[in-house]
């Protein structure tokens, strides 16, 4: 009797496993709802960080294998992409928000830009896993990096000085730190040894067991979640919200930003570029974004 029960349970698990493994609806694998060929695909451009996205779109919508698709997509970096869009050498670009300079360039050329977020991104904070602090308020992060809070005990941790690592001034994540987190609050000066030059260094120092139990550092979610899975590192909750795809997507996590698709405002609704944007924002398009390692916007 006991044996029959065991076999029944095992069969149930097997069945559940097979259902879970085979019948889950993966929209990214379904036939695309629109298609292009090599010639009809819109002229795209963009930043380096969105190249995988752009390649995934092309692969899906032209039914091209991923490796072959990568040969057909050329991104010329953010500023050049904006210039190409404004000068009508590109139809749609995948980039960060336009700068003042780029907005002015558009204005000078009598071009209005349609800026549409397509995937979410977040700014995350890293601590050593042995640090008892697992969550900070957004304001506490600002206070730490402005030098107002200097000891972990002030935020519920051990009586130990906070070792707050920064990036060099011109590093992209330092720019993000200032614009997304600190905003109008000046960031404190950090000695040069506490400005690791690379993102990897930052993750390394924070995850090290030997000397960084009380360190804190920061990075973009895309890089940390994809690049390193160090055991010694933990991502902090902010305002008690853990940085995860769904909390970033729903903007429950406080420090969020996005990557955008940008078109010229006068792009016809039935143009291929507009059709591409509509598809990116569709359920299937967003699934492709997710499979490519990004956080869908919707």
């Amino acid at each position: 009797m006991k044996m029959k029960k065991t076999i029944s349970l095992f069969l149930c698990f097997t069945l559940l496993f097979l259902i879970g493994g085979c019948s889950g609806k993966d929209l990214s694998q379904e036939a695309p709802t629109i298609t292009f060929d090599q010639d009809s695909y819109p002229r795209v451009d963009g930043s380096t960080v969105t190249i995988p996205l752009s390649e995934a779109f092309y692969a899906k919508l032209t039914n091209t294998p991923a490796e072959e698709a990568s040969l057909h997509i050329k991104h010329n970096k953010t500023h050049s992409a904006y210039v190409n869009l404004i000068e009508k050498n590109a139809d749609i670009i995948f980039v960060t928000e336009p700068s003042e300079e780029e907005l002015q360039l558009a204005k000078d050329n009598n071009v209005s830009l349609k800026v549409v977020p397509i995937v979410s991104e977040a700014f995350v904070f890293l601590v050593n896993k042995d640090n008892p602090v697992t969550s900070l308020l957004a304001q506490e992060v600002i206070d730490i990096y402005s030098g107002k809070i200097t000891n972990w005990k002030e935020v519920g941790g051990d009586d130990a000085e906070i070792v707050a690592y920064q990036r060099p001034v011109n590093a992209g994540s330092q720019t993000g730190m200032l614009s997304i987190v600190m905003k109008d609050t000046p960031i404190m000066d950090a000695p040069s040894e506490m400005k690791p030059v690379g993102m990897g260094d930052l993750v390394e120092v924070v995850s090290s067991y030997d000397n960084a139990k009380y360190a804190i550092g920061y990075s973009y979610y895309y890089y940390v979640s994809n690049m390193y899975t160090r055991e010694g590192m933990r991502l902090l909750k902010i305002d008690d919200v853990e940085p995860r795809n769904y909390t970033i997507q729903k903007k429950e996590y406080p420090f969020v930003t996005a990557y955008y698709a940008v078109l010229r405002e006068d792009e016809p609704e039935d143009s291929n570029a507009s059709k591409l944007l509509d598809w990116i924002l569709s359920e299937q398009g967003q699934k492709v974004c997710e499979v490519s390692g990004y956080v869908p916007i919707q």
């Binding site: 065991t6 085979c22 190249i51 990568s70 050329k74 590093a171 690379g198 499979v291 490519s292 390692g293």
Partner: protein, 515 residues
């Protein structure tokens, strides 16, 4: 036939595992991430080589030869094949391999760089296509064969210009003709993929290329997070270190149609890097014939790490002071480190004073700027530490109290004691004659009055991987007008420089090359 309950369970488990395997196989791979081109799953080690276990000591120098064929005038005659080996059968065998590889390269189409077909719509639009160009050279009996093919697309109407380079690199053991792979450069008891990936990761990130488009290492940007090198990554060995080559085979990077390289100095590769020792044994007879003049290049045993002091940069004014200090990653003892630190200590009082002068100058002279730099750097060579202190102070337009000053010191790396010029040479070598000759050859055409007999007390010197550099301060000779006419400020008699390559001195005469 009836099965026992236990057999049924095992049967079910087997069925489950088979189904799980089928599900795994039919699940499509994740799209767009880390799809390497031409990746070979197996780590290649050439079984022809006997296993070597680490650690092995870093040699003080590498032996290089370009293996190029020269004509009677010393011009390169042909560099598509090697010459200069004693074993002509081996030479023929390698030249046949090179010719085959060149032929294969000539038949290749567009290299599969990211985005290349967005630019080159078809091969017929390539306006300019030449190569393959072969570059040959050997380091410690490892032959490097580099074959490049170039093309470009120039659309003058649209002002669009793109070019590409496809490069294949091969290495062969000059003793046996066997192909050498990256894995063969490391002892079998080290995870060289992890080791090298760590260096690459550090260097990529140090250049801020992971997330920043302003401070890019132009031509090599991460497109997706770096996941590690290919076990069979293309590489090149130079006199300085191991160059890892990144091209379309590493899809995490956008290399912009050109292969890019990251150099890892030999000293950083650790004692499980056996590449310099495995194929070269100096106790054995040379594999080269007597026509070859091999060059020996010193390998720095330790790297210099630079620190910048930002406290002197005044952002709100046009006075800029750059202070850079280069220290070694490690020292032979704390005592030596302390001694070196004393040489490298920054004269803050002096810089503060200059900063005040600069501010005053700017206040009195609108639309000008002052530039001051203070550079103090220690470098390591076998048995020797060099310390160079360089100062520069000037403005635009140029100021009256401008100055440029340089001092160099050589220390014994074991004791920290200052070395004299004679300490660089083996006993009995007439170094003074060699130094005088090098100054003669540099300056005799200007008819200068140089006190050759007493110059040595004023002469400063330093070393690098290839030779010894000498500086004779400006106040120690009488310049001719023809010489001074080359300079913007002839009233400030410039220092005189000479350089003696180790090759010219003779390696047997230099202590750094001796065990």
């Amino acid at each position: 036939m009836s099965l026992s309950n236990r057999s049924k369970i095992w049967l079910l488990i087997l069925l489950f595992l088979i189904l799980a395997l089928i599900v795994t196989l039919v699940m499509p791979p994740k799209q767009g991430m880390n799809n390497r081109v031409n990746v070979q799953d197996e780590v290649l080690r050439n079984p022809a080589f006997s296993p070597v276990k680490g650690p092995v000591a870093l040699k003080p120098y590498v032996v290089v030869d370009d293996l190029t064929n020269y004509d009677e005038n010393g011009e390169v005659n042909d560099n598509t094949y090697i010459c200069g080996l004693k074993d002509k059968t081996m030479e023929d065998k390698l030249n046949k391999i090179i010719a085959d590889k060149v032929q294969k390269m000539a038949e290749k189409g567009l290299p599969p760089y990211r985005g290349i077909k967005a630019v080159f719509k078809s091969e017929s639009q390539i306006n300019y296509d030449y190569g393959p160009i072969v570059s040959l050279g050997a380091v410690n009996n490892i032959l490097n064969v580099s074959i490049s093919r170039f093309g470009s697309y120039d659309d003058y109407k649209e002002e669009i210009f793109y070019s590409f380079e496809d490069k294949e690199i091969y290495q062969y053991d000059l003793n046996t003709g066997e192909e050498i792979h990256l894995a063969d450069l490391f002892s079998e008891d080290v995870d060289y993929v992890t080791l090298l990936s760590g260096f690459v990761s550090d260097q990529i990130l140090d250049n801020h290329i992971e997330d920043n488009e302003d401070y890019v290492y132009e031509g090599l940007q991460t497109v997706t997070p770096f996941q590690g090198i290919d076990p069979n990554q293309k590489f090149f060995l130079s006199g300085y270190g191991l160059d890892l080559i990144f091209d379309y085979n590493t899809p995490e990077f956008d290399t912009n149609f050109y292969p890019q390289s990251i150099t890892i100095p030999y000293s950083k590769l650790g004692d499980h890097f056996i590449g310099l020792n495995r194929f070269y044994d100096e106790s054995k007879t040379s594999i080269y014939d007597d026509t070859r003049e091999l060059e020996l290049i010193l390998v720095p045993p330790c790297q210099t790490v630079f620190e910048y002091d930002p406290s002197y940069v005044a952002e709100d004014m046009d006075a800029h002071i750059s202070v850079r200090v280069g220290k070694l990653e490690s020292y032979s003892s704390p005592e030596v480190e302390k001694i070196v630190d004393s040489y490298l200590s920054v004269p803050t009082d002096f810089l503060d004073e200059r900063m005040e002068m600069a501010k005053k100058w700017i206040a009195d002279h609108p639309n000008t700027f002052i530039d001051l730099s203070y550079d103090a750097v220690v470098s390591a060579y076998p048995k020797i530490l060099t310390i160079e202190i360089n100062q520069f102070y000037d403005g635009y337009p140029t100021i009256d109290d401008r100055f440029r000053a340089s001092r160099t010191y050589l220390l014994d790396s074991e004791t920290g004691k200052e070395m004299e010029l004679k300490d660089l040479f083996t006993e009995g070598y007439d170094y003074q004659a060699a130094v005088k000759d090098s100054f003669h050859s540099e300056y005799d055409e200007y008819d200068m009055d140089i006190d050759y007999e007493n110059m040595f007390s004023e002469l400063s010197f330093t070393v690098d991987s290839y030779g010894i550099a000498f500086t004779l301060p400006g106040e120690n000779y009488t310049a001719s007008s023809s010489f001074l006419s080359q300079y913007d400020f002839p009233e400030e008699q410039p220092d005189l420089y000479a350089y003696l390559p180790y090759e010219e001195i003779g390696y047997e005469n230099i202590l750094m090359f001796q065990d």
